[in-house]
């Protein structure tokens, strides 16, 4: 399914730009609408739902927060709205991770910045939490990047639900790519049939009119993501597509090692699906 609606998390503190700029470029590439979302959770957790939906006159704190969020929205619309690009804004009095995951129902793809933006836990978005909750693919853009032209894409294949989802979810980007590499990094006990698996994925992509595809099977490194990082460097990859492996345990999100390391260390854009 094409991308017709993108959703981007907008930080309250940083300069507009960075991943928001990437989102705007993608919106143009796919002629999609762009929804900006900012979240800020009130300190007290005991506020009634009505107060959140409609901050009363007496409640200065909430009013101020809402004003600030809306102000950010005006900046966002002014900076990124053009006659060709439809933009929309949503201010939400909640934790950004929750807000973005919830609003993601309106979009085909969610774009967020990498780890470590705001220091304020009430305004900080946790990319990992968003990925696991959104039910949509999430593009994580490292902090230093402000542009993405996804010409060379690598797919980190693993024969699991998450990677399959990621491949499907990334199809609109894969179709526009100049080259696609399907790579499986061998794990202990998974070497049987790895080349058959990546070929099968390549065949699936061919049926979706993805043209130039190569397949690779790489031996595992002591640190598993190193194989991937080396591939990214040697092949000049712009975008990595990967499954995000994780589950919720006692209310906490627990990630698989590779996913956690990728989130922490990767220097290029990465599309995750769960």
């Amino acid at each position: 399914m094409p991308y017709v609606s993108l959703l981007v998390h907008v930080d309250l503190e940083d300069q507009l730009g960075g991943h928001v700029g990437v989102a705007a470029d993608l919106a143009d590439l796919f002629r999609a609408r762009l929804i900006g979302v900012a979240g800020w959770a009130p300190m007290s957790v005991f506020l009634a739902q009505e107060a959140l939906d409609n901050p009363g006159v007496g409640d200065f704190h909430l009013q101020d927060m809402k004003t600030l969020l809306d102000q950010r929205g005006k900046e966002f619309c002014a900076a990124f709205g053009t006659p060709e690009r439809k933009v929309e804004w949503r201010s939400i009095l909640d934790f950004p991770t929750e807000a973005v995951a919830r609003e993601a129902r309106s979009a085909d793809l969610v774009i967020v910045g990498g780890i470590a933006q705001s220091k304020d836990p009430f305004r900080r978005l946790d990319p990992g939490g968003t990925i696991l909750k959104a039910g949509r693919p999430v593009l994580v853009v490292p902090k230093h990047l402000a542009k993405l032209s996804p010409k060379r894409i690598a797919i980190a294949w693993k024969d699991a639900r998450e990677a399959r989802r990621a491949v499907c979810d990334a199809l609109p980007l894969l179709e526009k790519a100049e080259s696609v590499v399907v790579v499986e990094v061998l794990e202990e006990g998974s070497s049987n049939g790895a080349s058959h698996r990546v070929k099968d994925v390549a065949k699936y992509l061919t049926r979706h009119r993805v043209e130039i595809i190569t397949e690779q099977v790489r031996p595992a490194d002591v640190i598993p993501i190193n194989s991937l990082l080396r591939l990214i460097e040697s092949e000049n990859i712009d975008l990595l597509v990967a499954g995000a492996y994780g589950h919720s345990r006692l209310g906490e999100w627990v990630f698989g090692g590779v996913t956690r390391d990728l989130l922490a260390e990767i220097q290029i854009c990465c599309l995750f699906s769960h």
């Binding site: 399914m1 094409p2 129902r105 065949k203």
Partner: protein, 273 residues
């Protein structure tokens, strides 16, 4: 993007031929490739006839299974003549494992309902397939041999699984005349429900799908019964729903609603996890 490849489980079990006919029609309609698939696992020694020992039996059994699968493959190709790209994957392996694995090659997996013990070694487990295969699964009830999804009911709950299901179903939703969203809504959460259904309607509109009606189900008990009854009253051809499940001690436990829909509905269901 539309469906470019469909996969159908085709074996000797009940209603297999009907299901294949449905899959062939869908593949032609979407100009998609069709992959037929069946698996056979070894019978455990206590069920096998005669001598149960040694590799001799295993080899003989393997040959027998390969032969049987090749035969089914011929039937598949005969029935799928009109499909431009038809492909057969018959492998001596447990059917559920096999389909879960091979589903990477398709956009939609078409399977039938779970049958009794006699099918245990050929049949497959729909629940496990849905939860593990990472693709939308179209579950076809027995004796149904065509799907022209003009009227589609979307069973909506604002969760990852439902979101997946809706997005996965877009190629079908685009062709429907009537798309009805049913929100399964808890008491006290009406405002949020309304918001999420409106957002969904708006999202689908961006994909050129017009939602013709929105309905709210307010029931705490037997949601599945209500859903099925609602869909039948609406004369729906297809129900789109999230497939809920979680692993408990290595087994896949299913959400009550999903289980009931899997077991009882006489309407085709599209499930995503």
């Amino acid at each position: 993007m539309s469906f470019a490849a469909l996969m159908v489980h085709f074996d000797t079990g009940p209603s297999s031929h009907q299901r294949l006919r449905l899959a062939v029609d869908l593949a032609i309609g979407f100009e998609a490739a069709l992959i037929g698939i069946a698996g056979r696992s070894y019978l455990p020694p206590f069920l096998a006839d005669g001598d149960t020992g040694g590799t001799e039996r295993k080899n003989g059994e393997q040959q027998e299974m390969t032969r049987a699968l090749a035969e089914i493959g011929e039937k598949f190709h005969a029935a799928a003549k009109q499909v431009t790209h038809a492909e057969w994957r018959g492998t001596p392996d447990d059917a559920t494992n096999l389909i879960v694995r091979e589903a990477r090659a398709a956009d939609l997996v078409i399977i039938g309902r779970k049958h009794g013990l006699e099918q245990q070694y050929y049949g497959l487990d729909p629940g496990v397939t849905i939860v593990r295969c990472g693709r939308p699964v179209l579950l076809v009830p027995d004796r149904i041999d065509s799907l022209d999804p003009r009227r589609i009911v979307v069973a909506w709950k604002d969760t990852r699984e439902s979101r997946r299901a809706v997005r996965d179903a877009i190629p079908l939703l685009k062709r429907a005349n009537q798309v009805i969203i049913v929100e399964i809504c808890e008491h006290g959460a009406e405002a949020q429900s309304l918001q999420s259904v409106n957002d969904l309607g708006d999202y689908l509109l961006q994909h050129d799908v017009t939602v013709t009606r929105k309905a709210y189900l307010h029931t705490e008990l037997a949601v599945a019964d209500e859903l099925v009854r609602f869909a039948e009253d609406e004369r729906a051809d297809l129900i789109v729903a999230g497939g809920y499940g979680h692993s408990r001690l290595g087994e896949w436990a299913f959400g009550g609603v999903t289980r009931r829909l899997l077991g009882e509905s006489r309407i085709c269901g599209l499930f995503s996890h």
